[in-house]
Symmetry: C2
Amino acid sequence: MHFGKYSLNEYCRLVESFHGSLAPGMLMGGIMVNAVIERIDKAKLHDALCETSSCLPDAIQLLTACTVGNGWLHIVDLGRFALTLYEKDSGKGIRVFLDAGKTEEWPEIRSWYLKLRPKEEQSRERLTDQILKADISLLGFQRVEVLPPFLTKRTKGEIAICPVCGEAYPKNDGPVCRACTGASPYVC
Amino acid sequence: MHFGKYSLNEYCRLVESFHGSLAPGMLMGGIMVNAVIERIDKAKLHDALCETSSCLPDAIQLLTACTVGNGWLHIVDLGRFALTLYEKDSGKGIRVFLDAGKTEEWPEIRSWYLKLRPKEEQSRERLTDQILKADISLLGFQRVEVLPPFLTKRTKGEIAICPVCGEAYPKNDGPVCRACTGASPYVC
């Protein structure tokens, strides 16, 4: 079993260092990301689209060239544990998801995935064991094509100085930056 | 000069491996993240709030315990090159921003930051050199308090199976998952 270029042990150490703990979602996520990597044409450049903000974005960031900060990882938080790697030019890609219908024979995985029991009543050891044994058998794959907005390169356009806060911001946002027009995340 | 627990060289290698290239925003971002780390009470647990999706989230993910996937990094894309580390319990924190007003004497930094010249006409070497020389002198710091939504722990609540796609999703989203009610990022 491997995770991109890493062995299981290497990946686990990396996850603990980056994500903070070896969460089940990072283990399952690593298996999913690796499974898609093995199915794409590696001669082409790919972006990633992740359908949840929990765990999976970190598995993608650790195992592919796509990160939030370089703009190649797009998160559309639909709450589905699924991801797609798609070609940057055509938008065509392969989607992988954790198939709930296939989890019947894996009670710890099913219980964790569908939140059937409180976390305290789940056995992390049995869950980890089942995830490693089930491997890719619980996954579903689909050929998909992303919508045009995911093919355009991110650009801020021209930069202006906000007359209210004095900071640089994208001129396209209007005469004043968005933080100064009500979108500030801070208590005034 | 150091970046969290890393030397300049170690940080640069890490950035190249994770982010793909040593972008100026990753160098400036690293200086900013480190500057905030040095100003917070390390005995307390902190979340991060990043005001741009460009580069800076990756510097935060590499230098703090906060990542997108573990839920401790919140991105509010206001297009301002700024971040805050705030206490998880009180919401009080320290915000750092790149102060455009202080860039007058650093032409390469100013030109890059305010996009005064096309990328091809900028000298990456001179820019890197000025960023390292300017160090924290271009930064502004503020004590801030984040709004209550940033203090609540992320939770999906109960999980249901979508009757349309058959996948697991947060029951709170309604009788059908969001992807199947028009928010799908894929061509049908």
